[in-house]
Symmetry: D2
Subunit: 353 residues, 4 copies
């Protein structure tokens, strides 16, 4: 009921504030006997970390996960996996001047009103720093799901948009540029735009597309826990996300039934895949794909106005090292949350066998 | 874990197939001492029912809820509320010819593969008939939340779109036409389009917008159970929904941070409301609003092709009485699911007081 | 969180008051394709029903279950099983004189204080009438678990106690007498004692022993959801239960480790079975057995004293048709709750395979 | 669903093996703004720790909790409380000789069969070392429940039994002796018996009684989550527990209804309290009390026989530093689990206000 656990069978619970001693988590329900490679976890953490390129926050978090339990001789034992990442580069003093200010479109106001207390240092629990734990758990999930292929990429930044549909892009190109867009030329345009915005102290949003290949038929628990409903919740739980659509998404509203229906052809494939691999909330074996909308980061470097705790109007400027665009670092987070959902529903589906 | 329960504290569990004896549900966790008016439940059921106008299915389901427990002398007792609706107008024979066919973009294939059994009569559990139970529970939730105002309306059908934003529409106009669009002229256009499509045996989709006014500050349980994440899951669990966006939604991706940030002005209000009333996953007291995309109904009256259980190609035509457009009947369903989420999170939030 | 759901995967949610229109429930998470025999459900209901013999309440509840969904052509479909039992022989007027009185050792006082409302008719939700739903769901669970053998019996009434340990009794004798004690002579003594007590308008308690044979190795989810912890909770949730012990139980406190340790001998059996078939919270394949203590029924026919809602001292006598001893009718309830736990943990354990 | 989480609102999830790097946990759902005194946590850890007296294991675990999040300026913030205790005095080599042996009445066999993997070092996850985390969370719960008084004590060791009932003992005497029995003379007898048993390399069991004073009226969630059912589950989840009884417990089976009924007298008190403060699963404001049976520790220092993984008969002797009797160290664990249940149900009950 409280909100820091995700999943039903493969269950992640996390803790930690951006400027506290450490962040970490516990994975419960992990099947036993599975080999876990820590290098793969660190690879994912590096895809998420700040300081990785010129278009993200220059903060240097050399995040290294320490696994405390549940893995013995490199294999999962079936007992809970405890893990921890100590916070290092935490310049709390950057936040002193905004201690009593409700930053626009941040969670300062709502956390304070809900909990009547405020850990002003870097957003505390509401900081995207917590996504480190999602990435760690997601990497473990990915290693268990090794036959199911999950990848995400940046498909648009502001008005700059990739032309190819999800099934036409070159997956191996995703990691070849710092924006994580598989179309080289579009990527260059995106990077240039971000740099321009960054110089002005402003920020910008975009869309991440995620694809799941080789999902077994049968994942999803209707009627309330439909597979896409859980994927939607997982994505909407990520900081800065404002929208989710799967398959034909919002575009479906402009199509007729006779165009939109996916006709079954041989081998239980469908001719088109507007359904996005899910029908009636259950995977049908076709590719699953969905889009996630990310807003422009709320932390801008321009002078802003707001209220403080005393309800007084204030003028202020945020210091610190922030991202002009969250998208490139959000790609592994989208993949991680996807892996958590798919593994959870994969394990749940074993019950029916 | 199995998927037929929604909610944490105010918890709805439902049962029933479209062509079985009855459908129904149990609400657990309902606070005691609250007056429930059955007429209000029936009002909502009438908004949902088929046969209500010329642009929906002509099927006549005179759904009347029977409450079996949990309400005594018209007041809730704190014990579970059991309710039942008997199925009446169920022409199972309409479905005989498609008994072994996987209808395109329906759940026939996935249910059969998951459960190895098929109740072919009218989609069985995957039929939207189950939403009757959502509407009943939602109406009870609405009666408990009487200070919080929830209303939805059709904001687009295919390319026809309402011009006003959510805060400019006239709420009292919503129920004045059969499409449930608050703009009279746009409503006429929408209705005409649906009639045209209907004549061709085809179907069409659109967008429903939902607004919540007077939400108390503090609802939402970060980091995984953010208020909008739960609303998104609730909406995505409704039949035919393909997308969800709240506040600025997908449009946020085209804005800069300096434009998108909602500046706090006096009395803890914000000047703009791109955040859609939710920051960091917690309600901030401003209006909550979101869009839900509905696909064109999969059941069309045209000749279609598909596979049957033996993997043979088949040509078929669906009989029966179906909706050319699900939107007008989906309005009360969107409101019901919204009420379930808001009440659940309202009760959860009491714990912090 | 609210209390009317039991189980994790095979999940029973129930509703209904003793004197309302109906009681019923929903089973979610039932595997598909399993044949369910309604006669077996009615057999269990008959073992529970009042009026079955001279030593139980003469009330005549001809309980017949109506299954509303989830079973098609006699087989489970994987969708939720809704069921209902209409209340018939409900003499509410029997309760008028105690409308405002807190009956001693009943739940009148606590329900009223918690929910601020009282459905005085027959105890409302706190009545053991709700166990009808447990027996129905338990019978379905038993049919799914057909290789696992669950049986319970009365092992003591007051001071009269069966001599044989659980592994020496004759299972087929249990149903041969109205008290459900497998030792014929002890049964006669018990019956005579109950009759004597009944004549005085008093009531009496006892112990039910339950045995589970052929449990697969590996059921149980440490560290908090140990198999015996869940069995304990299941038993303690039954009306009138005051204690639970498994394996050596309270007697273990009088033994030394060297006596109590169960030594593994060939074929993974243990020489003794003080562990009661569970070690570290996980079944080890040996017989599981446990005892459940039932208090003397609170409803006696003698003149009693108590307070009423106004805090005034009152003298009163309870009318109606009540049980002098709940044990014979509780045997199928103990079995039902056991079956629910075992099936739930059996399904959970599939995840590790 | 997996078993390493306890509680619904105030939710503890733990990780850690006895001989891994660390053990720890996350408390989610802790109300904000509550002052937490770390000294009180350490006080409870010291009551649990080995090496505290001559009648417990001489192992020296200087357990000190490190709190990593959720507490800021000594007050809870409403965000999850992460905590960790590093393992220090872990002599894994003590376990090498039993690496492949199923120790009698331990969890070696069942964990191995369930998870197909064995961390043989000191029992791994099944070791009572995990109770450190229960004690830490329990101490935090106690500090939140500061008006509700929870205390436990040793009421019997083998045949030596305290004479006074729970309401007659002197609470302040409990901590005055190393066995934690409030009757000085009985304590001496108990201690002498344990020493005698210890010399023989054997072990011994007993009963712990727990009392809760000043519980508000209304805690408990019928029908399945009755307060005593949850307390029972909590106790049965503790290592070595074989039985639970509350109020009159198993003795109720020897009483008549007319003796056992608790008559309400003025101020909503009852004359007797056989109900143990709970009626219909809901607290009635009277003292709650219950007994918990602990078996003799399975680790004895005598030569034993068993099977190894190859199903061969083996003769072996366990080395290491173990408890002859777990009772004195289990007292704070019983209190901790009680505090977790009471706080959880206290928070749940707020929903009804």
């Amino acid at each position: 009921m409280p909100g820091n656990t995700f999943g039903n069978i493969f269950k992640l619970t996390t803790f930690g504030e951006s400027h506290g001693k450490a962040i970490g988590g516990i994975i419960d329900g992990c099947p036993s006997g599975i080999k876990i490679d820590k290098k793969k976890i660190n690879y994912e953490l590096n895809r998420r970390k700040p300081g990785q390129s010129e278009i993200v926050s220059p903060r240097q978090e050399k995040d290294k996960v320490e696994i405390l339990s549940g893995i013995y001789n490199k294999k999962t034992t079936g007992t809970p996996i405890g893990f921890i990442v100590y916070n290092k580069d935490t310049k709390s003093k950057d936040y002193k001047n905004i201690k009593n200010i409700y930053r626009p479109s941040h969670a300062d106001f709502t956390y304070y009103k809900k909990y009547k207390i405020r850990d002003y240092r870097g957003g505390g629990r509401s900081s995207a720093r917590e996504t480190v734990c999602r990435v760690i758990a997601g990497s473990i999930a990915k290693q268990i799901l090794n036959n199911i292929n999950i990848y995400a990429y940046v498909s648009s930044i502001n008005d700059i948009k990739i032309k190819n549909t999800y099934d036409k892009i070159k997956v191996k190109n995703i990691e070849k540029n710092i924006i994580r867009c598989p179309d080289k030329n579009v990527a260059i345009e995106m990077i240039n735009l971000i740099k321009k915005i960054q110089k002005k102290g402003d920020t910008i949003g975009g869309v991440i597309t995620c694809v799941i290949k080789n999902t077994p038929i049968g994942l999803g628990e209707p009627i309330f826990n439909k597979l896409h409903a859980e994927l939607g919740k997982a994505m909407l739980s990520i900081n800065a996300v404002k929208g989710f659509e799967y398959g034909s998404g919002f575009k479906c509203t402009k199509m007729k039934g006779s165009e939109h229906n996916d006709v079954y052809i041989k081998d239980n494939k469908t001719k088109t895949n507007y359904s996005g691999g899910i029908q009636g909330g259950i995977s049908n074996g076709m590719d699953i794909y969905f889009n996630v909308a990310f807003k422009p980061v709320s932390t801008i470097k321009k002078t802003q106005y707001s209220l403080n705790k005393k309800n007084e109007k204030v003028k202020f400027k945020i210091k610190g090292r922030h991202d002009p665009c969250v998208l490139p670092r959000a790609v592994p987070i989208v993949e991680a949350m996807t892996a958590l959902v798919i593994l959870d529903y994969f394990l749940l589906n074993k019950i029916y066998k």
